[in-house]
Amino acid sequence: MRTKTTAKPMLRTRMLPAVAGVSALLVLTGCGAADMTKQASPFAGVQGAKTVTLSVQSWVGAQANVAVAQYLLERELGYRVDTVQVDEVPAWDALSQGRIDAILEDWGHPDEEQRYVKDKKTIAPGGDLGVTGHIGWFVPTYFAKQHPDVTNWKNLNKYADQLRTAESGSKGQLLDGSPSYVTNDKALVANLDLDYQVVFAGSEAAQITQIRQFAKEKKPFLTYWYTPQWLFEKVPMTEVKLPAYKEGCDADPKKVACAYPHTPLQKYLNADFARGGGEAAAFLKNFKWTTEDQNEVSLMIADQKLTPEEAAKKWVAGHESTWRAWLPK
């Protein structure tokens, strides 16, 4: 009881410094409007260096792009490069806000492209990466050799029994990956009447680990996978043919019953960075290599466990003619 009556004046006096602190911060940050879509990362641009922040997506191919770009930006152009791992869709948002400067490998996000590139104009296209991506269903080649007909979706139900796991129960298992990836697999399984259960590995790391475990034991499996991907070098896989892709056949996600398209992978830059990013922006626009190049670096990172920097260094040493062309004149 007594405390209660005494509490009020005390609080008032305690509040004072807090209020003062908040107002001080306000003064410090400028009293007017603060547009948080224009705030860079606090870790960027320290010690007077020009900084570029690149988004690394969770797959190794993307890491390979970033590793080489980072290596060259730092060694050849004198930038300091920060990398942040963000999933694809949030990366668009972050790119629009300028928290990252560039995405080097985008697999096609029409909604976001519409919103940020066309409507808000906060993101500028950065051109082709030079690599063509493709998503599909794969079985290990050792299995495909034993049962050549498995590579046609029509025969998949025959093998459902062999592809069963504890997780998929009485059905065959179709292993899917990270939730950030584009996938129509649930709809495909339903619409193609397949006796399969989609099991989401939840992350690419989990999926790769699982695939390698299967491969080690020469067990059959069916997985959602994509090229270019370094894992093909370690675990040769053969694609299962799905009904052919036709323009627009994947328009309604619920009714999809066709294969995934082949996508030329794109680069995107923050609009402001594209305009005022100087050499770095020019370099990133020029950055273009082949599937083989990317795989070479990916494999060094993922399989030989080189650090991305070492892998980039090795590749750069052997492909001078390729990267020389990227440097701004």
Binding site: T3, K4, T6, P9, M10, L11, T13, M15, A18, G21, L25, L26, L28, T29, A33, A34, D35, M36, Q39, S41, P42, F43, V46, Q47, Q57, S58, V60, Q63, V84, Q85, V86, E88, V89, P90, A94, Q97, R99, R115, K120, T165, A166, E167, G169, L175, S178, P179, V199, A201, G202, S203, A205, A206, I208, T209, Q210, Q213, E217, A302, K305, T307
Partner: protein, 652 residues
Amino acid sequence: MATATAAVPQTGVTALLKHRVVGKLLLLALAAAILIPIANARWASGTWPDALTVDLSEPLGKASDWIIDNRDSHPLFLYFFGHISNAVVLSVRTVYLVLLAAGWAGVTAAAALVAWRVAGVRLAIGTGVAFLACGLLGMWVPTMQTLALMVVAVLASVVLGMLLGLAAGLSDRTFRALRPVLDTMQVLPAFAYLLPVVLVFGIGVPAAVLATVVYAAPPMARLTALGLRGADAGVMEAVESMGTTARQRLLTARLPLARKELLLGLNQTIMMALSMAVIASVIGAGGLGDRVYQALASVDVGAALAAGIPIVLLAVVLDRVTGAAGERMGSGSSQSGRSGWKPWGYAAVVAVAVALAGRFTDRLDWPEAWLVNIAEPVNRAVDWMTDHLYSGVPYIGGTADWAGHFTTWVLDPVRDGLQWLPWWSVLLIVATLAWLIGTWRTALTAVLAMAAIGVLGVWNPSLDTLSQVLAAVAVTLVVGFAIAVAAARSERVERLLRPVLDVFQTMPQFVYLIPVVALFGVGRAPAVAAAVVYALPAVVRITTQGLRQVNPAAMESSRSLGATSWQQLRQVQLPLARPALLLAINQGVVLVLAVVIIGGLVGGGALGYDVVFGLAQGDLATGLVAGGAIVCLGLMLDRVTQPTERRTRKGA
């Protein structure tokens, strides 16, 4: 303390309980008999009836779109969130620049000197070594980024927590209003906080810092309030009798008297901030967590560990130093000799000198020649493990076989069973359990939480998650109790165990994602395994402590009666340690639930996957609904397993 109260009136309480139990059961049966036919007639379905769900995806999707479209124009963002975000960026940047300017030598020296001042020489050496290790592992810059983020987040949490704690500590009404909120926030898994902040602030450091603050401030507020309220009434009266003003009472007595709680609050806040700062790498926090996360992409456990070790080191150092400071202050003795600001001055001078030395010798960045690569040997070890344990081990089968059996024989039946149960019977079971173990209020909260899950339209995935949680808790308890019994009986086992527990408790959960998949494959079994690994340390610790604290007199008397050690354990230690065991169960449940989302990353599916999906796809509707469902599950499970406090209070 609780042991005594629980132990003595054992028979009385059980009798009373039986009595109450019968009454409660009858009442529930009556309610069920009336309500169930109605419910069944109206919405006859096994799973939650569609008529009773509310689809939030559209409004949430719209809200998210609105925010993205208006983030750079609407006054709410320009004049409020924008400033918050700006202030965060500015502060983090300032701290980061200071840390970089001090260089590795300066930071290490400063940290060691602070540790020396507040916690003594041994911890100072430990701190120095820990920081150097971060450098050796090639993680200096990420460590500094995490540290900068932590400093800002912890300061903000402490200020916010203290203010809330002061309000709750001084006003009964605020306390009553705040307490359930704080209690609940402590139950919520860290991931649940990420989506809402991302919605407002977008990916990046501001969102990460704010999520961290929201996550880490509650313990500070809670302990501040408890400390202020727990001030020795005699002292407070004496102080009042001397004619102090209210302000003097607060500043000279109430706050200093609560300093032990305040330091404990600081300690907890720091630990929670660290774990959150790591998890927040998913939303672009950068720093060590991001390195772990990136290493995962290339399935590189070694690299993940190289980033994980600094996190563990930071955690252990921060925990020990603040803990030691708390103990010193609590005993109130040591200060006589070392009070005053002078030693602090010397420490500051030394730190600055070291930093300047580093600067002039141009050694600000960690020298590249001093790096140690641990990734390779670690990866080889992991490979060996997975090669040899995964399958085909003679007699006992490989881990993959275990996982398969576990999924088929435990997880599937539990999940199918739960999903087979009519929805109202699930509610009824929850109500019964919660009421038997607590009050009608707890029962009501639990039932409402469970019903909310149904209303959100994620009944089936939630039951799937629930089945995983139940299985994981069961495994955790069996393994945990077994380890705890061993540790409680032998000092040596406990000593050996302690660092292991520390590491597992602070290691970012991402790190053991790959080993878990490598051992158990993809699916719910590895999700359960990850949860067990995460929850085990706390369960072991609480149980060991509970068993250890059993009244020695009771132990002695049973020994004098010639009880075997097994009899002693069963008849004396376990019954007397009951409150601790119940607490262990509660903590086990809460912690297991906290890693459900990590489970989503290894194929656990259900709610965890939905949250990950929401984060990854920027699909806030899915993510928020699933996050909300996890929160509800957490509330429900907490209420169903949290009897001790209430019951002892009632018995007293």
